[in-house]
């Protein structure tokens, strides 16, 4: 079984996140980046599925130079190889362009059985790329999966949303997984040391036959006009219990429509 797992290098939420002043795109160069935490679940699931069927796991990312770190993390966890699509023209690409490029990259990787992704990126948080990618590739798509198995050419998955459904699809399929599906492993020291020797290919847009004008900020369907920093978190409201604490709490929760 050949599994491609999509990994994204995102600014570390623990550090200050900023936007480029000129074009309001996310600053991905001057900040500490990490493998999007939600993607770790996809990597873990890919490793588990591949492990039980002696499969192959390929980590695929698109992004500037530093984003190869996301691939490295996946390799340290146990993925077999990596593909990094890197090209200056990609700067500012929206989800449509991203799905276009990733679809071409998956096509170039060749016959794959499964594409696994996290349920969202922890920076953009749109959750649309898996569906777009499925449409472009003509693959089945199962989103927000909390449990899955593969048997022969069939993916069986539990999809968690307002209702819980169990669905099946024929491979090749794209599955996005939630943080309920597993507990991602720490990379073992052997994994960390082995990762250095695993192959990572760098592909440009030309390698994929994608024209520069189809991607990037100029081709994006929407552009950010302005950015305002979220106001500092204010001190919470302290309710003193003078015998009516419960009522005050209930009133507060009702005013915020929690109850």
């Amino acid at each position: 079984m050949k599994i491609v797992v999509l990994v994204k290098h995102v600014p570390d939420a623990a550090a200050d996140r900023t936007f480029h002043e000129a074009d309001h795109t996310t600053d991905r160069v001057g900040v500490d980046g990490i493998l999007s935490e939600l993607d770790e679940y996809a990597v873990e699931e890919a490793l588990k599925l591949a492990g039980s069927e002696s499969g192959e796991v390929i980590a695929l990312t698109m992004g500037p130079e530093g984003s190869a770190d996301a691939i490295k993390r996946a390799l340290q966890m146990g993925a077999d190889s990596g593909v990094h699509v890197v090209d200056d023209a990609l700067h500012g690409s929206d989800a449509l362009a991203t799905s276009h490029v990733l679809a071409e990259a998956i096509g170039k990787i060749g016959e794959v059985d499964l594409v696994l992704t996290g349920m969202a990126s922890t920076d953009g948080g749109m959750s649309v790329v898996p569906a777009m990618l499925a449409e472009r590739l003509g693959f089945a798509h199962i989103g927000f999966v909390g449990e899955m198995s593969v048997d022969g050419g069939t993916v069986r998955a539990r999809r968690d949303s307002d209702v819980t459904e169990t669905v099946e699809a024929a491979t090749p399929a794209i599955v996005s997984v939630t943080d309920q599906i597993n507990e991602p492993r720490y990379p073992s020291f052997k994994g960390i040391m082995a990762a250095k020797k695993k192959p990572v290919e760098s592909w440009s847009l030309a390698d994929l036959g994608v024209a520069a004008e189809q991607v990037g900020l100029d081709a994006a369907w929407s552009q950010v006009q302005s950015v305002t920093k979220r106001p500092e978190r204010t001190q919470g409201e302290v309710v003193t219990d003078d015998g009516d604490g419960g009522i005050k709490l209930a009133e507060f929760l009702a005013s915020r429509k929690f109850i």
Binding site: A14, A15, D16, K72, Q76, Y186, P187, S188, F189, K190, I192, M193, K196
Partner: protein
């Protein structure tokens, strides 16, 4: 965040390569997930055997046990990576670092370095995975800094060996599957691989400790323990054997102590920022800042010293006297930092809500084990003067 990380003021991260950083980060996460949430509880009620076994298995999964050894299921990292792992473990608790040090650098290292191929095959893979736990018996009730006078004796009986004696202050003893025991023989001191289920072997734990409570400390009692001829470590004879093991463990402590100090300083910086005294943050007082600055200096100097020794070790140029310098300085300074931090945390500092007095109490043991500060002073003194002042 940057302003809060006392180890980054000198940008020491640049001294590490990507692999070393990844290993350090992995251990930090392991400690955050599996040690930090429980360590106060372990300390309050002392660590039980099941928890030690569980912890060892988790550490084994990561590759922490015997991580710097090659083959037999060990990860085979460099020495700096091993040091960084010790640093992160000890930022959690010195007792947890002790578990890993004793397993990897004392018990496993002794077998790996001085054992027969059969001994290595039998014990090392299980010890690397954490399924088997090891301990190291050198110190005795009456012989600490002068192990050459030990009373534990191994005598020949036919081809068998029979061991009698008592070992003291043995980390992991009670929970061990295998003990490396050093004993006098007619041919000088030899090491023995003792399965702990051998008749005559017992390992009662030492309780009522005020230090290293998140670690099992035991006595080993050897009462006519009969072992086959092949239980002896073939490649070690004389004190050089156990002392070279101690040198390995001591190297980890040079880094580990920095971790304990860093954790104290972290907690203290946060506390000083949030705590208001006389209507303003404790961190805004000059005396507080002077303490913080001095501690940060010592912390970073200690880390640089550890890194220097680590690079020497990876170059195979590390001299035991240099390790003595590292241990003497870094444990002493770490203990000083822990105590100074306690003064900033004031009364809060004496509780298990904060790590500082726990670290300080632990470091009292670390100051003594693996060569006391005084012995390391004598090692350095001898190197400087040519005069041995040990006795």
């Amino acid at each position: 965040m940057t302003a809060l990380n006392p180890l980054q003021l000198l940008g020491v991260d640049h001294l590490l390569d990507d692999e070393e950083k990844a290993i350090q980060e992995t251990v930090r996460r392991f400690v955050d997930d599996q040690v930090r949430p429980h360590v106060a509880e372990w300390y309050e009620h002392e660590l039980d055997a099941d928890t030690v076994r569980q912890l060892a298995r988790e550490a084994g999964k990561l590759g922490l046990l015997g991580m710097h050894l090659e083959g037999y299921g060990c990860a085979g990292t460099n020495a700096v990576s091993y040091g960084l792992a010790c640093l992160e473990l000890e930022a959690g608790d010195s007792g947890v670092r002790s578990l890993v040090s004793v397993q990897g650098s004392l018990a496993m290292f002794a077998i790996w370095k001085f054992g027969s191929e059969e001994q290595k095959q039998r014990w090392l893979p299980g010890m690397a995975s954490g399924e088997l736990i090891g301990c190291f018996g050198l110190t005795e009730p009456d012989f600490g800094s002068n192990p050459s006078a030990m009373r534990t004796r191994a005598r020949r009986d036919g081809s068998d060996w029979v061991l009698d004696g008592t070992k003291m202050w043995i980390t992991n003893g009670t929970v061990s599957d295998v003990a490396i025991v050093w004993a006098q023989t007619d041919d000088g001191i030899r090491g023995f691989v003792v399965p702990t289920d051998t008749p005559g072997f017992s390992a009662p734990s030492i309780s009522k400790k005020l230090s290293l409570r998140a670690s099992v400390t035991s006595e080993l009692v050897l009462d006519g323990v009969r072992l086959p001829a092949d239980a002896v470590l073939p490649e070690a004879s004389g004190l050089r054997g156990p002392l070279s093991c101690l040198n390995e463990a001591r190297f980890g402590i040079v880094f580990g102590a920095v971790g304990a100090a860093r954790d104290c300083l972290h907690a203290t910086l946060e506390y000083a920022r949030d705590r208001e005294v006389f209507g303003k943050p404790l961190s805004s007082f000059q005396l507080t800042q002077a303490k913080l600055a001095d501690m940060t200096l010592e912390l970073q100097k200690g880390f640089l010293l550890a890194m220097h020794l680590g690079r020497l070790k990876d170059d195979e140029r590390l001299d035991p006297r240099q390790v003595s310098m590292g241990k003497l300085n870094n444990v002493r300074e770490a203990l000083g930092i822990a105590r100074e931090c306690r003064t900033i945390l004031a009364a809060s500092g004496i509780t298990l809500e904060y790590p500082v007095l726990r670290h300080a109490n632990n470091l009292e043991s670390v100051l003594t084990y693996e060569g006391t500060s005084e012995i390391h002073q004598l090692v350095i003194g001898q190197a400087l003067t040519g005069e041995s002042a040990f006795a």
